[in-house]
Symmetry: D2
Subunit: 293 residues, 4 copies
C-alpha cells in the first residue's frame, strides 16, 4: 500500500519502520528532521510537507496529544485535500477531540479509523503492539494490512472511533490505578516489616502475574524511577483524559480522583522527571516510612 | 507427620485431604460433624475435642476470622496443653490478633507459624495454593513438609508471623482495588458505547492478563454475581482488616477508603448475597448507566 | 463617576442599579435588550456597543464565566481602545484566565482590578455584597467609590488580581464542601432515626450558625431544590474552577475530588435542574435511605 | 435534686460545679482524688465508690470514651443496684455502645437519658453548653432541671437515646470536615499568594461566620496548635466513631474516608501532640508549600 506517516517519535519511528519492512511504500513527515532521515535509510520516502504525507491509500498519524493533533492536522487543514484516503489515528487523544475528529472526517469525505496502541517502544519495534481499532467497516478493512505489520493483534471495537480512544483512556487509568494500588499495599506491608521487593515478588508472580504488575512492580521494588520510561507528567495527562471523559459523560470515578491527588502530591514534591510509577512513593512518604526508618 | 487439623470449611477440608493423601497422620476437628466424617472416609482420624486435635508434631488451623480464632483457640485455652507442637495458623486474621497470638504462643512455649493462603477452593483441592509463611526458622522448617502437600509454593517472609498476615491483608486489598478499578473503567467505557465484555476481553488478555483480572473480569463481564464465590460481606471484612492495620500503623490508604464506600453502597442497595466482584456495579449505577439504557 | 457596565444578569442588574442610585453616570450594555431598558428607566444610559460601554473613569463587567469574558471582552478587542480607564472585573473566572487578563491589561495600558463578589441576588439588590478586591493600588483607589455603592464591605487582597479570583474559587469550594458535609452527616443521622430537619436545626443554630450553613441547611431540610437558586451545573462549574486551579498549582484537594464525584452522580441521576444543595441527596441515595423507608 | 456525678475531667468538673451552684445536692466520684476535693470545696459531697455515686434522683456520668464507660459503669455492675434513678450519660460514645446501654438500662429498670454536649471547657464553666437530649419522656422530664444548670439549651431528639449520640458523632464529623475544608482551601489560596490569615479573615467573617469556623479558623491562621485544645488523637477517635456508625448502618461517607487519611498522615508525621485543627497542615505539606517558600 501507499502510506503516509506523520509523527516519528519513539513509537511512530518503530511503527513506520515495520510498515517499510512489511513492503509498504511509506512517505514520512516529522516536525524535526532526524527521524525522517533515519526512516529514509530504511527505505521510506521523505514528505516535504504534512500535506504531502497526508494522502495515498492510507495515512497513519502518531502524534503526542490533543495539541499536536490540532496543530498539525487541523492547523494545516490537512483534511481539505485528502479525499479518498483513510486516516488511521494512533494517538492517545481525548474523547472530546475524538468525537470532533469523527465529524470533521465525515464532512471532508475521508475515511477515519481510531487505532490507539498499547505497548512500550520495545514492543513497537518488535511489531508486538496491541492495536484497538474502531471505525466504519469499509475504512477499517481497507487499512487492515497495516495492523498486521505493526501489531501482534488488532482488537476491533465497532463503528464509532471514539470507542477505541475511550478504551485506551480507560486502560491507562487502569495502569495508573495499579500503580497507586501497589503504592498503598507496599506502604502497609512495609509498616509491618515486609520489604517492598519481597511483597511484590510474591504478588506479581501469583495473583497479579500480568505485564503491568510485573513490569511496574519491578520498577517500584527497585525504585528505578530515573530515567523515566514514561514521565510522571505524561501519566498525569492521561489521568486527566480519564477525568475529562468521565466528566463529560457523568461517570463518577473516585479512584481517578485519588490518582489526581497522588500525581499532584508527587509533582509538588518535585518528581516531574521521574517515571509515573513513582506515585507509589507518595503512599510511603505520607505514612512517614522513610522518616521512621 | 502426626498432624492435628482444626477447621474443615471449604478450604480446610481440601487442605486436610491433601495432607492425608501425602501420607500424614491427620486428626481432624470441626464445629459441625459432617466434614469430619468426610475426612475420616479419606483416612483421617476424628478428634473428640479441639484440644485432642491441638497436639502432635504440628497442628494446622484454618478458621474463618478473628472471632473464630479467639473463640476456638483462646476460648478453649488450647495453648495451655500443647507444648512441643508447632501451630500453623492459615486463617486470614487481623494484624492486631496476629501480634497478640505471637506473644501468646511464645509465652506458652509453642512454635507458631503464620501461613495464610492465596487461592480458591478448586486450587486448594488441587494442592495448588500459594502459601505465605512467616515464623521462627526452626518452627518453619519443622512444618515445611505440610506446605508441599497443600501448596504449589511456600513463600518465606521471615521470622515475624504478622508479616505473613499483613501480606495476605494487603494482597486482598489489591484484589478489591482491582475490582473497583474494573468497575470504574468499564463504567467509563460503557458511557461511550463500549460493552463491558468487549472492554475486559481486551484488557485482561493483554496488559492485565493475570489470574485476578481474568477471573474476576469474566465474572463482571457476565454479571455472574450469584451464587457468590466470595460473598460481598466477607470481602468487606477483608477491606476492614486493611483499614484496621493501616490505622494502627498510621498508613493513609485513600483507595481503601474508596473501597469502604463502594462496599457500603453495595450493601445499602441489598447486595449482601452477591459476589464481592459486584462492587463493580456501584460505578455503573452511580453513572446512571442502567437508568439510561 | 462616569462608569461603563457590561453584563446585566440577575447580579449585574442589581449592582448597576445601585451605582445609578449612588449618583454615578452609568452606561450599560447587555447581550439581550430587556435588562438594558430596565436600567435606563432607573437613570442609566444605553451603550450601543460593548466598546461604547468599555470606557470612562471605570468599567465594571459582570459576566457569567470564562467563555463570556473571552467572547465579549477579548472577542471584541475591547482592551485596544480603552486606555485610561480602569476595568473592574467582578466575574467568577478561572485562575488561568485571571492571570492572562492581568497581562493583557498591562500590555494595553489599562488599569485592572479583580473584584469578585459573594452574595445572592437579594444581597446584590440591598447593596450588601462582600467584594474581594485585588489590583494595583492606584487602580484600586480610583474605583473605591464603586464598592461603597454595591457592597457592604470591600476586602483588599493586594496587588495581584488573581488572588481575588482564587479566593472566590476557594470560597465557593468551601460552600460546596459544606453541602457535601451536611449531606453525609444527615444521611448518617437519618440512618439512626434522626430526621434531617431536626439535625440541621440543632447544628446550624449552634456550632454552624453561619449564613452558608443556615441558608443551605434550610434548603436541604425542606428539600427545596426546585426552582434552583443556584443550579447544580453552575455549582459544578465552580468546583471545576477549584480543580483546575489546584491542578495548575499542584495542590492535592481530596475533598474537591469527592465533590466532583457527587456532582457527577447527581447529574447522572438527572438533577441538572435542581439547586446545587441537592448534592446532599447523593449521600442519602447511596445509603439506600429512601429505599428503606 | 439529689444527684450523683461520675467523671470530673475538665468538662465534668465544670458541669458538676454548675449543678452545685444551682442548688442541687451533688455526690461526686472520680478516678483520681484531686478534682473531687475541688468540688467538695464548692459544696459537693464525696462519694466513696462509683456505686455510692450511682444512685439518687439522677446520676450524671461524663466519661472519656467507650472504654471508660464500659470499665466504670459496666465493670462495676453499677446498673444492678440503682433501680429508681435516672442515668444521664453525657459522654461521646459509639452508636453501638449507645444501643447496648439502652437495652441494659431497660433490663435493669433504670431510666436512661443520653445527653452529649457541644462546647469547650470555657462554655461548660459558663453553663453555656448545648445539650442534645434523647430518652423516654418520663425519664427526660425528671432530669430536665439539670440541663438548665449546665446548658444554655437542651435540644430534644425523641425517645431513642442512640439518636443523641449519633447527632453528636455526626456533629463532630462536621467539625472535622470544616477543618479539612479550611486546610485545602487555604492551601489552594496560598499557592496563588493569598496568606492563610487574610483568606480566613474574609471567609470566617462573612459566609462562614460561625463559632466552628471562626474559632478553628483563628487557630489555623495563627498555627496555634500547641498546647492542644483538643488533641489530634482524640479528634481521630471521634472520626472513628463516625466511620464505625456509618459502617454498621451502611452509609457511604467519602469525606469521612478522606478525614481518616488526613489524620493518619498527620499522625505519621508526628503531630500527636497537636490540636486536631492541625490536619490543615497536611494539605499545605502535600502541596509542597513550605518546601517552596
Amino acid at each position: 500500500m501507499d502510506i503516509g506517516f506523520i509523527g516519528l517519535g519513539q513509537m511512530g519511528r518503530a511503527m513506520a519502520a515495520n510498515l517499510v519492512k512489511a513492503g509498504h511504500k511509506v512517505r514520512v513527515w516529522n516536525r524535526s528532521r532526524g527521524p525522517v532521515d533515519e526512516l529514509v535509510k530504511l527505505g521510506a520516502t521523505p514528505a516535504a510537507t504534512p500535506a504531502d504525507a497526508f494522502r495515498g491509500d492510507a495515512v497513519v498519524t502518531m502524534l503526542a496529544n490533543d495539541a499536536a493533533v490540532r496543530d498539525i492536522i487541523l492547523g494545516n487543514r490537512l483534511l481539505d485535500g485528502a479525499r479518498g484516503t483513510v486516516h488511521v489515528n494512533c494517538a492517545t487523544i481525548s474523547a472530546a477531540l475524538a468525537q470532533e475528529l469523527t465529524g470533521l472526517h465525515e464532512a471532508a469525505g475521508i475515511g477515519y479509523v481510531a487505532a490507539p496502541v498499547f505497548g512500550r517502544p520495545d514492543m513497537a519495534e518488535a511489531g508486538k503492539l496491541n492495536v484497538v481499532v474502531a471505525g466504519k467497516p469499509d475504512a477499517v478493512s481497507r487499512v487492515a494490512p497495516l495492523f498486521d505489520a505493526i501489531g501482534q493483534k488488532a482488537w476491533p471495537l465497532g463503528d464509532d472511533p471514539v470507542r477505541a480512544n475511550v478504551l485506551k483512556i480507560a486502560g491507562n487509568f487502569m495502569i495508573a490505578a495499579a500503580l497507586e494500588t501497589m503504592g498503598e499495599a507496599t506502604a502497609l506491608a512495609r509498616a509491618y516489616g515486609v520489604e517492598t521487593a519481597a511483597f511484590l515478588d510474591i504478588l506479581t508472580n501469583t495473583l497479579f502475574a500480568s505485564p503491568v504488575y510485573k513490569g511496574y512492580g519491578a520498577i517500584i521494588a527497585e525504585k528505578r524511577y530515573e530515567p523515566a520510561g514514561f514521565p510522571l507528567p505524561l501519566g498525569f495527562k492521561d489521568v486527566g483524559l480519564a477525568l475529562a471523559a468521565s466528566q463529560d459523560a457523568h461517570v463518577p470515578m473516585p479512584f481517578a480522583g485519588v490518582l489526581r491527588d497522588s500525581f499532584l502530591d508527587a509533582l509538588a514534591q518535585g518528581s516531574a522527571e521521574k517515571d509515573w510509577a513513582s506515585i507509589a512513593e507518595v503512599s510511603h512518604r505520607r505514612a512517614g516510612l522513610d522518616r521512621k526508618s
